[in-house]
């Protein structure tokens, strides 16, 4: 007994000394670093520059006056033949830049020299089933790990210094249509992820794992009727079986959480958007089809759903609902501040919700043409559908009545994250103006096969532009300014306290705009389309900006008549890093 006690004391003592010893040496990322990411300027340790996803940096050395002096610092080529869409947001920590690339690759770069430190090429099977290009949107940093998800639905944790695999977990069966492209987020030591595969009749879910080991903590399906888990035990069914889904269709109901999510510490809520219900043909599944095309507020501790709001009940246009939900303070005229969240949906409406309870505050069109609904009823929170604009039911052999619908399923805004600037109080939304002919076709579920039951052709609405970066006032829903772009916008947005807005264009430019007026102040040609997410940080007293370049994503695959404005764009694959040099003294 005595020796047991002694042993315990020795263990305790050694644990304490280990902790003391390790502290000054550690460059490890901890929960505090992640919680403070939005306000610390010398690193970027989370997707969204802070888990709320505002993509706002308090840095102001680079501003409307100085941005003209922004120059390239270095560029890293991803090399290889795998030059496809580069949609990632880089991360910066401990003198290293980490960025993911097409085909589930990761690069670590010396932040001072641009020299590659290591590269990890995930081995992908031939049979992967990504719907919309072989992209990856980024990783998460925690402890000494860089964690990212792969096209064959695995979650991989690499050592930040070497790129060696520390742990790897299979999230789902890629042969059934699951894949993964979103950046994970870390909340209180848990790595939180979604899944892709809504075009293949998978079932969406959100998962939380121990970030250090990969061990599953909880899982929450996003289609009603499916059982969630917590610590390996059943943790209640999502929703109520068959309440808003007929028959067995909920078993292959889609609602993929393919864009990941955000987190708000003030309400301790994860916000995960869900994708389209499967199949696209809505006549097969009468009802609201919960929780497809919705936002879910989830308790990060146990995976329980706190509230939900459905952007497009009974979605028949693949409007999806995964676009990011960005927490912000809505300042009202009477001086009251509401804990709100902003969301620009593929269906063309910009929503403001009360993020404590999911109540709708406002819903305003942010694109010029919306055909599927006349508006969103603020009392009921539901769309006022135009029933003539729902594509018709197919007969046993023939396709159904085709309709022209705007926006197209590529969305008034797609995955590319918007930014919110608390100084200007504006959201900066990378919007697109396009519609589609859409019709339904007979379909039945087959594992690993596309499960759409629809056909479509995308059409631009204007001759001279598709893309429009729009500044939206969340108090009024009004567009404060817009900057048009010929090709559709497909890259993320960054805004700063220097009164700047950064975003990329498929034509290859990274551009900087005046956040108040929308005047274009600076641009740089990167050599291929910019569909990645820009970041900024401070290093040795200088402000840096980084963005991946490499044209791709869903547009060249599904864009239909949009091809006219994008078919000449060349592929690439590189990380561009810019800096504002110190003023000569």
């Amino acid at each position: 007994m005595k020796s047991g006690e002694l042993l315990r004391k020795v263990l305790l003592a050694s644990a304490i000394s280990a902790a003391l010893y390790a502290a000054p040496l550690m460059a490890a990322v901890n929960d505090q670093d992640i919680a403070n990411d939005a306000t610390t300027t010398n690193d970027v340790v989370s997707y969204g520059l802070g888990l709320q996803g505002q993509r706002f940096s308090p840095l102001d050395k680079l501003n409307t006056e100085t941005v003209k002096n922004l120059i390239p610092a270095f560029v890293l080529s991803y090399g290889d033949e795998k030059q496809r869409g580069q949609e990632a947001q880089p991360l910066v920590h401990n003198g290293k830049i980490f960025v993911t690339a097409s085909y589930s690759r990761v690069f670590a770069v010396d932040a001072k020299t641009g020299e590659e430190l290591w590269q990890y090429d995930h081995r992908l099977p031939d049979g992967i089933l990504p719907c919309c290009d072989v992209v990856n949107r980024g990783g998460a940093l925690y402890d000494n790990l860089f964690i990212f998800s792969t096209l064959d639905a695995q979650l991989v944790a690499l050592e930040q210094d070497t790129g060696k695999v520390v742990w790897k977990e299979k999230m789902e069966d890629y042969k059934a249509g699951y894949s993964n492209t979103a950046a994970p987020i870390i909340v209180n030591g848990k790595v939180i992820t979604g899944v892709s595969g809504g075009e293949f009749g998978i079932v969406g879910k959100v998962e939380a794992r121990d970030a250090k080991t990969g061990k599953l903590v909880w899982m929450r399906p996003t289609v009603e009727g499916h059982m969630g888990t917590l610590d390996g035990k059943d943790n209640g069914i999502t929703g109520e079986t068959n309440k808003s889904w007929p028959g067995d269709l909920w078993k292959t109901g889609g609602a993929a959480t393919w864009l990941g999510g955000t987190y708000d510490a003030e309400t301790n809520s994860l916000f995960f958007g869900t994708g389209n219900p499967a199949p696209w043909n809505s006549h097969l599944r009468p009802g609201d089809n919960l929780y497809s095309s919705s936002i879910l507020a989830i308790n990060p501790d146990d995976g329980k759903i706190k509230w939900h709001y459905q952007w497009t009940p009974h979605d028949g246009w693949d409007f999806d609902g995964v676009n990011e939900f960005v927490s912000f303070d809505l300042k009202q005229a009477d001086g009251k501040v509401i804990k709100a969240g902003g969301h620009a949906d593929r269906n063309g409406f910009f929503y403001v919700l009360d993020r404590t309870n999911g109540q709708l505050i406002s819903a305003s069109p942010f694109v010029n043409k919306i055909t599927w609904a006349k508006g969103i009823d603020l009392k009921t929170g539901r769309p006022e559908y135009d029933d003539t604009n729902r594509p018709g039911a197919p007969s046993a052999a023939d396709k159904g009545q085709s309709v022209f619908s705007a926006p197209s399923f590529l969305g008034g805004k797609n995955w590319m994250p918007m930014a919110y600037n608390p100084n200007t109080d504006l959201f900066y939304v990378p919007a697109n103006e396009w519609g589609m002919d859409i019709w339904n076709e007979p379909i039945s579920y087959k594992k690993g096969a596309a499960y759409l039951g629809a056909g479509f052709t995308i059409k631009p609405l204007n001759e001279d532009y598709i893309g429009a970066l729009r500044a939206i006032d969340p108090k009024t829903g009004k567009v404060a300014w817009e900057a048009k772009n010929k090709a559709p916008l497909w890259g993320g947005v960054l805004t700063t306290a220097g009164n700047l807005v950064f975003t990329g264009t498929p034509e290859g430019y990274l551009k900087a705009f005046d956040a108040k007026t929308g005047n274009e102040l600076w641009k740089f040609q990167t050599g291929s389309g910019v569909v990645g997410c820009p970041i900024t940080w401070e290093q040795d007293g200088e402000q840096f900006v980084a963005v991946p370049s490499g044209w791709g994503g869903a547009v060249p695959l599904w864009g239909g008549e949009v091809a006219k404005s994008v078919k000449h764009l060349n592929q690439g694959g590189s990380l561009w890093v810019f800096k504002l040099p110190k003023a000569p003294s």
Binding site: E81, D121, P125, V156, W167
Partner: protein, 249 residues
């Protein structure tokens, strides 16, 4: 006895003397191999480390190699290096409670010395070797599994057999299904088994191995075990895919 004396004397006089001992195979890379894979530690060429391989490789993708270390006590670790391969290191083997013998197949990019170095508890590397001629190209070709796309169906699968040797002890041969891509074939990233443990039924570690790119596709490994007939295998590749199997007679 004599080599040992020489060792003691020269270690007292000047530790760099061993670096000058000429390689019986006359490898142009020997000093590099010594520095990089033996960390420049003391060594001697020693006939007790016997390496067998065909003088000419019929198939550069599958060159059979085996080694036996006889008459050396407490072998800590054995390193196999093909000096002229673009990726020279083939494997590291820590035999623990197994005999320090191993058979395997490897890829050769060109004719090369194959050195096997066994480190004893006194810190001295005992080095043997053999020269294999090869037409070449073994390391820059895509694996069969990768070019056919079949590798996903069998990845990490293990088959094995156990035989009784004439002296009553057993031989264990395992085959691990894995493409073992070197990363040198265009467009195909490095993908290989990184480590493997052979355990007894009651989880005693019998041997540990670090495996590298030059080991042949679907590696076949032959171990000289004691009387055991049932084994566990645990390992991992550089993507974190796990190998876990129980094998036996």
């Amino acid at each position: 006895m004599r080599p040992f004396l020489v060792f003691v004397l020269s270690s007292l006089l000047s530790p760099w003397v061993w670096a000058d001992e000429p390689d019986p195979l006359n490898s142009p890379q020997w000093e590099f191999v010594h520095q990089r894979f033996l960390k420049g530690e003391p060594y001697q060429f020693d006939g007790k480390v016997k390496v067998e391989a065909p003088p000419d490789a019929e198939d550069s993708l599958n060159v059979p190699v085996s080694f036996q270390v006889e008459g050396l006590d407490s072998v800590q670790e054995i390193v196999v290096v093909a000096d002229l391969n673009p990726l020279p290191q083939v494997l590291r083997f820590r035999p623990k409670v197994m005999r320090p013998n191993l058979g395997f197949r490897m890829k050769l990019q060109q004719g090369s010395p194959i050195h096997v170095a066994a480190k004893t508890a006194d810190g001295l590397w005992h080095v043997g070797g053999v020269w294999v001629n090869a037409a070449g190209g073994g390391c820059t070709l895509p694996s069969v599994g990768t070019s056919s796309g079949d590798w996903t169906k069998t990845l990490g699968k293990v088959s094995a057999n156990v035989w009784q040797r004439p002296d009553g002890s057993n031989r264990l041969r395992v085959r691990l299904m894995h493409p073992m891509d070197t990363g040198l074939a265009s467009g195909i990233p490095t993908f290989h088994i990184e480590n493997l443990k052979v355990l007894s039924q009651d989880d005693q570690v019998l041997a540990e191995l670090d495996l590298f790119e030059p080991l042949s596709e679907n590696p076949m490994l032959s171990f000289d075990v004691a009387k055991q007939t049932e084994f566990k295998l645990e390992g991992r590749d550089n993507n974190g895919n796990r190998i876990q199997a129980e094998v036996g007679r």
